[in-house]
Symmetry: C2
Subunit: 320 residues, 2 copies
């Protein structure tokens, strides 16, 4: 009998945007620290995660906060990067076109994709004005369909952009029609949460991993919002299907997992395990639990922590 | 590349205790409202959930808050119940021995079972003194093994307690050696989160549901921390295994589900679906997702919302 109706109307939660700036420095520790410090001093945005890769010579930051806090944090990040990074002296394995290469904005709670689109455009305008930097809007923030795909925008990279930008089809959405001499240009987007998800086959058959990757990825006619490639984990001698899921609400984790498992089984290969790289929204795991437990009419508002969070927000008077 | 190390040391979250008071009024709306009002006016404890059952003539409240907030809320609840409920005039289907029948305390985050045990004893002492009410401590708060089981304590009910309490084996842990004339006595416990979980067979075979329930429940040699019975859902013409899971960390949801599914399959019966009644901790769903996706080394601190909550707590300066 310990169950029943909810305690009344839900309180709106404080709106939270995630922003995952990628910037072109992954080697000089003092430069990275100075950039992180600038972000921390910008206001209340939280640093949820951070990683640097020296081969790529690139760092990725995960920020979260209100739209205002993210706006302030991005301006501080861009200023710190432009001051300290000169792409003319930059080498690294990852494709890049700017000192701040990409600023994706992700609606997490209490706001819609539309709000992130508006935030991307506001930010783009502010950054272009302040630093005389060309800005491209991508994915949901794109002003034309041809600019939805980040890879298309970035093609040519920093070295190719002085030519590319002269092409009227690649006129920036904000800022001047020439690249910034040391900082290149920046892409600002609004997109869904990206889940990096890898499935390890119980086999070292790289060709099988590659053929499964082809089968499941959207661009080859597979599952919507799934990017995939086959790689070999040398230290474990396992073949891996390495996946980026660009909208877990359209194609959930368990759909990808089941599809890979079935296809591997057709070749008499089992699954060794899977892993989520980086952060994952609770909802993506709830989906998988709901599916595997065959839960009827499961509502995330019945999750204790969610209820508690709503209740605490109500008491703090958030969003009122 | 959008992944990596965490942002630094975790901040401790504000300690949260859940309390699930069961009180002996499920019919008179004005009495129930007055009791809820008294709880709300007691301080910052949150009402997460509430349900009344008029057949049982009983209500169940789910509260959450700091140990101090829960202490204040329980004192307010007990005072309001004693003032308004007279068990001499009470009828209802559910076994009960008190106006406030049971106060279970559950550690949710930022504190241990031991802290709930201490809170149970503090509360027991305070309630006994203030209202001259006999108090029994149960489950993890019990002072002797014979009092761990709530059903043993409650046996005889309000009507049988005036005799039972004279038996030295049933001397109360706090308060007088005689029942309160109108309010009986109260059991205060510390326990794990209880998940009410039902699995519906794709069959109306009640005997099969009963035999599966026997097979999985702890008291008949089944799974630890599992209580179960078979029931018939008349409106859907389905047999159901109705389960209480008293420690989902010892026996997770997916273990119960898989066991029931296998056993039903042995009788060529499928699963129609399952349902969680009331609230469920996120961790219980993460366990199921981890199992079904074969996630290696999954750490709940990689869940976005958890990371965000820790970060917000750090900024508010909680727990410092």
């Amino acid at each position: 009998m310990e169950a029943g109706d909810g305690p009344g109307p839900r309180a709106p939660l404080t709106p939270v945007v995630e922003c995952v700036p990628n910037f072109s420095e992954g080697r000089r520790r003092e430069v990275i620290d100075a950039i992180l410090d600038a972000v921390r001093r910008s206001g209340p945005a939280s640093v949820l995660d951070f990683s640097s890769d020296s081969d790529h010579n690139r760092s990725v930051l995960t920020l979260a906060g209100s739209p205002e806090a993210i706006h302030a944090a991005c301006l501080a990040l861009v200023a710190a990067c432009i001051e300290r990074i000169d792409l003319r002296a930059h080498t690294g394995a990852h494709p890049r076109m700017g000192a701040v290469d990409v600023l994706p904005l992700v609606p997490i709670r209490g706001l819609a994709m539309r709000d992130c689109v508006l935030l991307a455009r506001d930010l783009g305008d502010a950054i272009a004005r302040r630093h005389d930097l060309p800005v491209y809007l991508y994915e949901n923030a794109a002003l034309t369909p041809s600019r939805r795909n980040l890879a298309e925008i970035r093609k040519g990279g920093f070295e190719g952009f002085p030519e590319k930008i002269k092409d009227p089809r690649w006129k920036p959405d904000f800022g001047p029609d020439r690249v910034h001499p040391s900082a290149g240009c920046v892409a600002i987007g609004a997109r869904e949460f990206l889940i990096a998800y890898n499935i390890n086959l119980a086999s070292a058959d790289l060709d099988l991993a590659k053929s499964i990757a082809r089968l499941i990825r959207e661009k080859d006619g597979g599952l919507p919002c799934v990017k995939a490639m086959g790689v070999l984990l040398k230290d474990r001698n396992l073949a891996q299907v390495s996946i980026n899921m660009t909208d877990f609400r359209r194609t959930p984790l368990h759909v990808v997992f089941d599809r890979v498992r079935e296809e591997a089984a057709r070749h008499s290969v089992g699954i060794a395990g899977s892993e989520i790289v980086g952060l994952v929204p609770a909802e993506a795991l709830f989906q998988a639990a709901r599916h595997s437990l065959m839960l009827e009419e499961f509502d995330p508002s019945r999750v204790l922590e969610r209820r508690l969070e709503e209740s605490e927000a109500r008491e703090r008077g958030d969003g009122r």
